[in-house]
């Protein structure tokens, strides 16, 4: 019970739980519709989903300030790629929250003349930019870690067999080997790809925060892609992605060591 009290005291934590519930409703509604359930039940689930969505908008009313503060903090990061990606991602999130607040005012009736469709599209566009920047940051971190890992592997292998002097395929992962032919044969390519894949898997396995963040951003990506009609899927798929990313996000709140820093 202690952990629930501490958990729910954080506004963000409650919002994540409602997000998980909202996308669970989307998924459930889609599944029940396909399964031919009663119209009454579908209507209730749709009402619950709309209620959760509007209430979450209410709960997010101050979040622009938080995103701006996070952007201010990110400006001081040492790594320039991380600095760029994270700052611009937070700024986009701040814009997304601002559009979201305007949408809330429109849905509540405070701004009855508001073009809800236009503002909804706008908010999803900012959300998409923020997600793309987060994924870029994830890719950059993965690349850095893979380079480090491959260097440590080659250092270990050169220690193990010091007679190997010529740069072999293990050493020359990211820089083209001078002795490599311009168009390597297919077996060499597949071997190289396999090594890259092994490296990627080992990097992700040793860095659960990075893996979690990558999965979360990938799942989240399908939501604006569907809403902006760039890659339309089904409401069920969107619901499943939203639910997965919400659960992963709840995990990072419950276990703070799983949160990717900075």
């Amino acid at each position: 019970m202690e952990s629930w009290v501490r958990f729910s005291a954080q506004s963000q934590a409650k919002e994540r739980v409602f997000r998980a519930a909202q996308y669970a409703c989307t998924l459930l509604g889609y599944t029940l519709q396909k399964g031919g359930a009663a119209a009454e039940l579908l209507k209730t689930i749709k009402q619950l989903e709309a209620h959760l969505s509007l209430s979450r908008k209410l709960l997010r009313l101050g979040n622009s300030a938080e995103a701006l503060e996070a952007a201010k903090r990110a400006v001081h990061l040492s790594d320039c790629v991380l600095r760029l990606c994270i700052t611009v991602a937070h700024l986009n999130k701040a814009m997304y929250f601002a559009c979201d607040n305007v949408l809330w005012a429109g849905k509540t009736g405070l701004l009855p003349q508001l073009d809800q469709n236009k503002w909804s599209q706008r908010s999803f566009r900012y959300y998409l930019f923020a997600l793309i920047l987060n994924l870029t940051r994830d890719a950059y971190e993965i690349r850095l870690l893979m380079e480090r890992e491959s260097r440590s592997i080659s250092a270990k292998s050169s220690l193990a067999s010091p007679s190997v002097l010529s740069p072999g395929p293990e050493n020359g992962e990211f820089s083209p080997g001078f002795s490599a032919p311009p168009f390597p044969a297919l077996p060499v390519l597949t071997a190289r790809l396999q090594r890259q894949l092994h490296l990627l898997i080992s990097v992700l396995r040793n860095n659960p925060p990075l893996l979690l963040d990558l999965l979360k951003n990938l799942c989240d990506l399908f939501i604006p892609l569907d809403k902006l009609d760039m890659y339309p899927t089904s409401p069920g798929f969107v619901g499943a992605c939203g639910l997965t990313s919400s659960i992963l996000s709840i995990l990072t709140i419950l276990y703070p060591w799983l949160k990717l820093k900075p």
Binding site: V5, A9, S11, K14, S55, L58, G62, L110
Partner: protein, 246 residues
């Protein structure tokens, strides 16, 4: 901005802001009810108020657990009166939250078979009992403070000075009442948290008193009391020294 973020990050902080807005809407609605030119504004206020209210009902979904946890903690207090008052108050709050959650489910279309009026009545009753227990605790703490203060020699000198410096006033107002009020104010001066908590609970009391028909006022009084108690609540979250402990 930092303090705003820390404040809103706490679930309770956000809820108090929404509560203050909800009761402010109710108050303004009451004040403008006769104004026919403001129909659009009244409509907006009505929808904002109902939106805040339904959102808050959703956010309160887990609060039963919080109240039961608080009741478990107050069970170990040393003072028996405090132990009784606070534990019973927390249990009543937990029951109020259960009724509130059931009403939330009903409003969305689940649990269609339940009697909405009866559950509403019970919710108000439990809320009323918890407020009465909280006020009892406030009165007990104030009485303790007053007894403690009256025993101080420094205070006894002060009260004699006060009664002697305006003898005409002391004759008009009953000297015992004057001395009592003086003692009350002196005791509460150094304990603003107790004073604020008493005012907050007293204001909150008008809400269930009106809903249960025990002491019917009007929507304006209810709105004003709700707004004042929410503002005091916001103060106590912002400045933890103003929050009454335990």
């Amino acid at each position: 901005m930092e303090s705003f973020i820390t404040f809103t990050n706490q679930s309770q902080g956000r809820d108090r802001i929404f509560r203050a807005t909800q009761y402010a809407c109710a108050l303004v609605k009451y004040l403008l009810r006769k104004d026919s030119t403001r129909k659009e504004l009244l409509q907006k206020l009505r929808s904002l108020e109902s939106n805040m209210s339904s959102g808050r009902k959703l956010f309160r979904l887990g609060n039963t657990v919080n109240s039961i946890d608080a009741a478990k903690k107050t069970l170990y207090l040393s003072d028996p009166v405090l132990r009784l008052c606070l534990t019973v108050a927390n249990i009543n709050r937990a029951l109020y939250f259960i009724c509130d959650n059931v009403l939330w489910a009903r409003s969305l279309g689940f649990l269609k078979g339940i009697d909405k009026e009866r559950w509403n009545l019970n919710a108000n009753r439990y809320y009323f009992f918890s407020l009465v227990m909280n006020l009892t605790r406030d009165v007990y703490v104030i009485a303790q403070l007053m007894v403690q203060r009256s025993r101080e020699r420094q205070f006894q000198q002060k009260v004699n000075q006060h009664l002697n410096e305006s003898p005409d006033v002391a004759c008009v107002i009953i000297p015992q009442l004057d001395a009592f009020l003086f003692l009350l104010i002196e005791s509460l001066k150094n304990h603003p948290a107790v004073a604020l908590d008493t005012i907050k609970n007293a204001c909150d009391l008008f809400i269930p008193l009106d809903k249960l028909g025990i002491y019917q006022t009007n929507a304006g009084v209810v709105g004003m009391c709700g707004l004042v108690s929410s503002l005091i609540g916001i103060l106590s979250v912002l400045k933890t020294s103003l929050k009454m402990k335990p």
